[in-house]
Amino acid sequence: MSPTPQRLQITAASPDPALLDLPWHIPLEEWPAETLAALPRGISRHIVRFAKMSGRVIAVKEIGETVAYREYELLRQLRRLDVPSVEPVGVITGRRDPDGEPLEAVLITQHLQFSLPYRALFSQSLRPDTATRLIDALAVLLVRLHLVGFYWGDVSLSNTLFRRDAETFAAYLVDAETGDLHDRLSDGQRGYDLEVARVNIIGELMDLQAGEFLEEDVDAVAIGDALAERYGELWRALTESESFTFGDRWRVQARIDRLNDLGFDVGELDITTDVDGTSVRIQPKVVDAGHHSRRLMRLTGLDVQENQARRLLNDLDEFRAATDRQREDESFVAHDWLTEIFEPAVRSVPRDLRGKLEPAQIYHELLDHRWYLSEQQGRDVPMKQAAKSYVKNILPTRPDEQAILGVQAGEIPDTDMFPAIDPDQIIG
């Protein structure tokens, strides 16, 4: 502990005493390597470091006191609204160095396990459509934020983390510093957020090209524009009103089904008919993301991403058909699928390989692998056998994504690769 006369003020919902053991009397930039966790850093206006604490990893950001409290509160509100965002741990103020000089306040968030910053995704050789899938994920996140009335103010790939979600990605908000919660966003606010996103994304991709992490011939501008398009499509699908004649009432259900397919539940649907009753107008008023993940959660208690849930639910349906139990209560079948199929498959992964991917993602890949084997061998390969082959041939080649890099902090090569930018950049 520091011998300094600092009087720390810790604001946290459930404070971990281990917080006190971190070297708060040292400017973040000079934290010793043994305290740090080896994670790649994004582009930031502030000094950000990842630190190990009680067996988990936290992200620590040096930032002005008022802004720190404000962002902490916003992140808490976003969690309550069930928007994918990092979990705030707390704010620490009153830091001083051994000479008694005040140090900046810090905002602490929980590091999101299995999350991937975009720079890590691009510097691994991933499939060429990675950019498109990242953009799709960011469009979904932005729509969800806008639906709850959150104006981000600084949408960028750097301020987002990605988690694998079956063959796609799920995006999480990391930085809420410039954000604001409103009852409802104006079109201007949404438009501005989208424009900032477009320009930032293009800038970030151009930067990767300048650093030779991304092929020169990738069209950064087209990728940025794609976000605006994807966002527009999704926003319209979720919020637009449609009118039809009274005889076409089936379109009410069709709209609900379409929203479910997009992964949204309809919480409230406005239905109005005109005076003579010949036409009907519907408009979704409240939509909640996570249609499939909620359903899977209800049936099995598994808490997974939306597309992983979709995949798992399909497998559950297949299991139900294969065992001829369509008439049985779905939750009983789900319980058996969980204990007989899902859990044994995931458990067959040796402990030392479990940090590679999340269990649900492993299961998703297992299903892919089984399909591939079955096709190759022209027969239905049982899960057990597929799992064995997957663990032997596929999983070991995967990078360790629980905490991305398996190196010691002292060896991080990223000070050049991902330079953090001074905190006095606030002006910029």
């Binding site: 582009i43 930031s44 206006r45 930032i63 002005g64 008022t66 802004v67 104006y151 103010g153 600084d154 960028s156 750097s158 410039t178 009852d183 409802r184 104006s186 079109d187 201007g188 606010q189 438009g191 501005y192 424009e195 900032v196 320009v199 930032n200 293009i202 800038g203 970030e204 151009m206 930067d207 990767l208 300048a210 650093g211 501008v221 940025g224 991902f418 330079p419 930018i421 001074d422 006095d424 950049q425 606030i426 002006i427 910029g428």
Partner: protein, 375 residues
């Protein structure tokens, strides 16, 4: 470059009755640095966001130049929100960091280079254009970020409390830099702050808002010398003006034993609302310390002396012996006055000094409406 006009522009948030910005009428000249200032919740940020296109305008119009932009999307307004979301890209050169937005917009290479070079010249960054941000100092990086907005040559710069996150020293430094840069560029700028010192030191003109209503707009000198109402009088100036409301009898406002002559032309403007009272304001520097027993001398018990080197201020209480002491208030609180004293002759704590308001340096306001009364 362009003028900016708020034409009776209002913003009412859903579910509220009182407008956050109420029929704002404000014309900003081409190239002018206008500061919107007021306490929290006064509508200054909302006004700026209406101009940016981030808030809907429920009534009235907003014009940039002659163009009505009330319903135009933010990105099509040709404005730049400065100091937001700029992190520099580590692998790009300083020139690319400044010019990439132009590249996105499809501007020809030669023109980008030319505009970047011009901006770099103004920002004193010319010799760094081919370097990476890592090689720059903190201050130079800040200027690169500024350059990003400058190369776009927007019609209007918008800044919302850009200094609120800086420590006191850097705040003063950056304040001067922004003001001088703006003057060199000559781009119309609207700047929001809650800090009246920032407003006084930076703006060509200042617009003071309170409860969504424009109180007064004018040069820093106007605001200081002729505040339009009691609110502006108390808000502009540091330390704050001393303000009290007193009965007027026989052409004289009675501050207990002290008397302030009130001109006939002022009294003739009294309304029923004023109930024959007048609100008198006097700045800390409008008081002279006088010997005990001087006619119209007001006794002040010294609570604290704030010595600033070039100046010294006494924060003192009035006594009830002297009438209704709590009729007077200042930035220091009720029944408190602030007096500027000679920094080489400061009284000690607990001492009673006598002060007199210098003639012609009082500000008079309607006791009812709070509006200024001109003699």
């Amino acid at each position: 470059m362009a003028t900016v006009t708020f034409d009776k522009a209002s913003r009412v948030y859903p579910g509220t009755e009182r407008p956050a910005v109420d029929a704002l009428d404000l014309h900003i000249e081409d190239g002018e640095f206008l500061v919107l200032v007021g306490p929290s919740g006064c509508g200054k940020s909302t006004s700026l966001r209406m101009l940016a296109g981030l808030e809907d305008v429920n009534a009235g119009r907003i014009l940039i130049g002659d163009r009505d932009v009330t319903d135009v999307q933010p990105k099509d307004r040709d404005i730049a929100m400065v100091f937001q979301n700029y992190a520099l890209y580590p692998h790009m050169t300083v020139a690319d960091n400044m010019g990439f937005a132009l590249k996105i917009a499809g501007t020809p290479k030669a023109e980008i280079r030319q505009r970047v070079e011009e901006a770099a010249k103004i920002l004193d960054l010319s010799q760094y254009l081919d370097r990476k941000p890592k090689a720059l100092s903190g201050g130079q990086r800040q200027r690169v970020a500024m350059g990003r907005a400058i190369v776009r040559s927007p019609q209007v710069f918008l800044m919302d409390e850009p200094l609120s996150n800086l420590d006191a020293k850097l705040r003063v430094q950056t304040r001067t830099q922004i003001a001088s840069l703006q003057r060199r560029l000559g781009v119309t700028t609207v700047y929001v702050t809650h800090d009246q010192t920032e407003a006084l030191t930076m703006g060509d003109r200042i617009a003071v808002l309170k409860d969504g209503l424009l109180q007064q707009v004018g040069t820093p000198r106007d605001m200081y010398d002729t505040p339009a109402n009691v609110f502006v009088a108390g808000f502009i100036g540091s330390p704050a003006m001393n303000i009290g409301t007193f009965p007027v009898l026989d052409g004289v406002a009675n501050l207990g034993r002290a008397r302030v002559a009130v001109q006939r032309s002022v009294i003739s403007q009294f309304t029923d609302d004023d109930k024959n009272h007048v609100t008198v304001g006097f700045r800390p520097e409008s008081l002279d310390v006088v010997p005990a027993g001087t006619p119209d001398g007001i006794p002040v018990i010294v609570n604290i002396v704030e010595e600033l080197g070039s100046d010294a201020f006494v924060y003192g209480s009035l006594t009830n012996e002297f009438g209704h002491a709590d009729a007077v208030h200042s930035g220091a609180g009720d029944a408190q006055v602030i007096v500027r004293v000679d920094p080489r002759q400061v009284p000690s704590k607990g001492e009673t000094i006598y002060v007199r308001i210098r003639e012609g340096e009082t500000h008079l306001f309607h006791a009812g409406s709070g509006q200024r009364i001109e003699a």
